[in-house]
């Protein structure tokens, strides 16, 4: 029997799984639905569905987190359809009235959320290097000057930040685009 079933079979188990994954499920739902109430509803529904299907979870096929995110993905789609809320409306413009928007738009929201979560998993030094150089477009030399470290150190931090990002993204179930 899979490990997750005992984990979700008792109140303490549900509490522990929520503590480990609930907030990131919420952030994902929030990013997708853009509404706090709906996002909380999505998390509750995700746990109910996970509890119902616990005996179908096989930890040899994937992590509990990946499994939960597969569930929340469906929950968000259902909520979106049911309430005519478009996933990631503020960021994704792929919503159409024919209901076919979901997969592509959702995958973009999913990747964006995975990147945000992976960035949070970096060390402060690595994240700062990546944000300053990549997102803010500052020169390596400027960033090095500001931090009081050699340019080579900033380059090294960017390199290791990307390496750590890759691992974190893979842990979050990232599907590469190549």
């Amino acid at each position: 029997m899979a490990d997750s079933q005992p984990a979700l079979a008792t109140d303490d188990g549900v509490r522990a799984v929520y503590a480990a994954h609930g907030p990131e499920l919420y952030r994902f739902a929030m990013r997708s639905l853009g509404d706090r109430g709906l996002a909380e509803e999505a998390v509750q529904e995700t746990f109910v569905r996970a509890w119902r299907a616990a005996d179908r979870f096989d930890d040899e096929l994937g992590s509990l987190r990946t499994w939960l995110f597969a569930i929340v993905r469906n929950v968000v789609i259902d909520l979106s359809r049911a309430r005519a809320v478009r996933p990631g409306l503020s960021q994704v413009d792929a919503a159409s009235d024919d209901g076919l928007f979901v997969d592509e738009a959702f995958d973009r929201v999913l990747t964006a959320w995975q990147v945000e979560e992976a960035l949070r998993m970096l060390s402060d030094e690595h994240r700062a290097a990546l944000v300053e150089v990549h997102y803010k477009g500052r020169a390596y030399s400027d960033v090095a000057l500001g931090l009081g470290v050699p340019v080579g150190t900033v380059k090294s931090r960017v390199y290791y930040a990307l390496k750590a990002m890759r691992l974190a993204l893979e842990e979050l179930g990232w599907a590469r685009d190549d």
Binding site: D11, Y135, L162, K163
Partner: protein
């Protein structure tokens, strides 16, 4: 994994992946990549990560993340508990339906057991609930009923006007709601019911409207 001779090119690999290659290093890096399959593979990996980075704007990186409300965890717990109760109800109804044809015989057997047992079910299992809150006290008597466990509870010291939940936890760790009540001045006695056989009850406890446990006791059915 790259080998040690590749160490000097790591910074350049990162820069190349995010499109910030130093022109002075470009020829040297390209020459290294021509002869190093491991670094070529790593550059492909890092470039894929860099493309993913482009899916979010800088504001998403620098702003504080959205966090769930503090009660979401308890709401999740309650939804799952409710789902569990619904499932138990269905099973119980199926079991009752299956047992329907034996109802008359079962009634006779129960009557015989009570007679032989000498009234133990009537006396029930009595527990005193502990509390960390000064002035709060409670005791309860749990009795087995056909539909679950009847709980006669006497409680004093809970805040008037505030809502409280009484729970009974079974031997499988599941909590079953026995009902809600509000605090009042003085001592209050009430009767509540949990859909759980007394023989399976292991804990009885009370939570307040902030989901904090305010009264608690272990149950050891006789």
């Amino acid at each position: 994994m790259t080998t040690d001779p590749c160490r000097d090119w790591r910074g350049a690999l990162g820069a190349a992946a995010i499109g910030r290659m130093d022109p002075a290093e470009e020829i040297g890096l390209l020459a290294h990549l021509d002869g190093c399959a491991a670094c070529r593979a790593e550059l492909r990996d890092l470039t894929a990560v860099a493309r993913a980075l482009g899916t979010i704007p800088v504001d998403n990186v620098t702003s504080a993340p959205a966090e769930p409300s503090g009660v979401l965890g308890e709401l999740v717990l309650e939804r799952v508990a409710h789902e569990r109760d619904v499932l138990r109800g269905r099973r119980a109804r199926r079991a009752l339906a299956a047992a329907g044809s034996f109802a008359t015989a079962a009634a006779a057997i129960v009557a015989l057991v009570f007679f032989v047992g000498g009234g133990s079910p009537a006396s029930g299992t009595r527990v005193v609930l502990g509390s960390t809150i000064r002035g709060v006290s409670a005791s309860a008597t749990l009795r087995s009923e056909a539909v679950g466990t009847k709980v006669d509870v006497k409680v004093a010291g809970l805040r008037p006007g505030h809502y409280y939940w009484l729970w009974v936890t079974g031997d499988d760790g599941h909590r079953i709601p026995a009902g809600t009540f509000s605090g009042s001045r003085g001592s209050t006695t009430m009767q509540l019911m949990a859909a759980l056989p007394l023989s399976e009850a292991r804990r009885i406890w009370v939570t307040d409207d902030k989901h904090q446990v305010v009264l608690d006791a272990a149950v050891h059915p006789s």
